[in-house]
Amino acid sequence: MTGPFTAEPVEGGVRVEMTRWFAWVFGRALRRLSLSYRHGNPLYALQRPFRMGRHASLLQGLYPEVAPSPKESKDFLRRHRDVLADRALLERVRARWQGRRPILLTHAEVDEWIAALGQVRLLFEARSAPKTAIMWTSLAQETLVLAVAPDTFTEPHHQRETTT
């Protein structure tokens, strides 16, 4: 294994490997996010002014601008709260993340992992986590995409670009 998180294409899916440290850190983050999606569950230590947020304000912290105006953003979050705060998705990903090795994912599961890692990244951003944590999350997402489409990004500047 060349890094803390690797993914390579195999027959019908993607084989994922990660170090124990990586599995522990991100498993914990997934668990924390999953717990915070429980309605009414407080989430501590968010960046000010959201010192302690509940379900609704957590979503506002994670997804501050999902529409052109703040009011439309709030309406959007209210309408789609269940899809955005989807605990089942996170629990599915966490079960595989911390489950038996080696991890073999189907392409549908890879898409779920990419979505879950995206949410973890937003949580890290909302909580002002160290930049390295955010970077590793982006890198894990990218590694999964490169395993799904191995021949698409041959130019090195596309593979390692940190922004869209």
């Binding site: 052109p68 898409d111 949410q119 955010i134 982006s138 995409v145 698409t152 922004t163 869209t164």
Partner: protein, 247 residues
């Protein structure tokens, strides 16, 4: 809200989503072909956002939701009407034929008027982005043209020296008059150059406005690109892949 309205999804650039991930999401969620997804990703990367699709409201929200759920910023915007291109510019002999439908021209007229008003001395400008919703012309020009020299001090001097040129009301007024009567109008290449400049200034103005939307930026960029392609087709052909007409 009109039930017949069509909506577009606009995906925005951010500091953390890798290029490959944006491409993958556009392919899987937006259901684009590999090359189209790549073009859109380039647009997001270079222009700050890219809009696509003409859906009903529910479908547009569901597509945007999938992007948001994967950690990207996506919004829905009302799409432009479906009845043909809203702005075209083509080279004809030594001039440029521009076709601006009346409805589209009238919709953008307030932007020209606002720019013209702002170029008045001592005018007060409101409705701006945080942290200053109101400001006078001088700091506003500083924000519209922030880095015109290698230092802030030299930038200020340059703005002061060329204030009349930067805030040229006559130019804006001339272009506005032509714009309103351009259902089918042949411009000289110099006049087309003036249009490119004024549209660029309107874009800079919108960057400061609180209510400006990504779709407006894309529309302005599209108009500029059409004009540049008509004035100098070789430059556009040699440059990066042409952006699509925003949805």
């Amino acid at each position: 809200m009109n039930p017949g309205d069509r909506w577009s999804v606009v995906v925005h650039n951010d500091d953390h989503t890798p290029y490959a991930v944006a491409w993958h999401l556009l392919r899987t969620i937006g259901e684009f072909e590999t090359d189209t997804a790549r073009t859109l990703t380039e647009m997001i990367h270079h222009n700050g956002s890219a809009g696509f699709g003409k859906y009903d409201r529910a479908r547009a929200e569901s597509v945007a939701l999938k992007f948001v759920r994967a950690g990207m910023r996506a919004t829905v915007q009302r799409a432009l009407p479906d009845d043909g291109p809203y702005f075209t510019a083509t080279r004809v002999g030594e001039g440029v034929l521009v076709e601006v439908p009346g409805q589209f021209a009238r919709a953008w007229e307030p932007a020209f008027r606002m720019l013209e008003n702002i170029y008045h001395r001592n005018v007060v400008i409101s409705g701006l982005r945080f942290p200053r919703p109101v400001m006078t012309r001088r700091p506003f020009l500083r924000r519209m043209f922030p880095d015109v020299a290698e230092s802030r001090w030299r930038s200020a001097l340059l703005r002061r020296r060329h204030r009349t040129l930067l805030a040229d009301r006559a130019l804006v007024d001339r272009v506005r008059r032509q714009w309103l009567n351009a259902e089918s109008l042949v411009l000289t290449t110099t006049e087309a150059g003036d249009w490119i400049v004024v549209i660029g200034q309107i874009r800079a103005l919108h960057l400061q406005l609180r209510k400006a939307t990504a779709l407006q930026f894309q529309t302005l960029a599209h108009v500029q690109q059409q004009l540049v392609a008509a004035v100098d087709p070789e430059v556009v052909a040699a440059g990066p892949a042409a952006t699509e007409q925003p949805a």
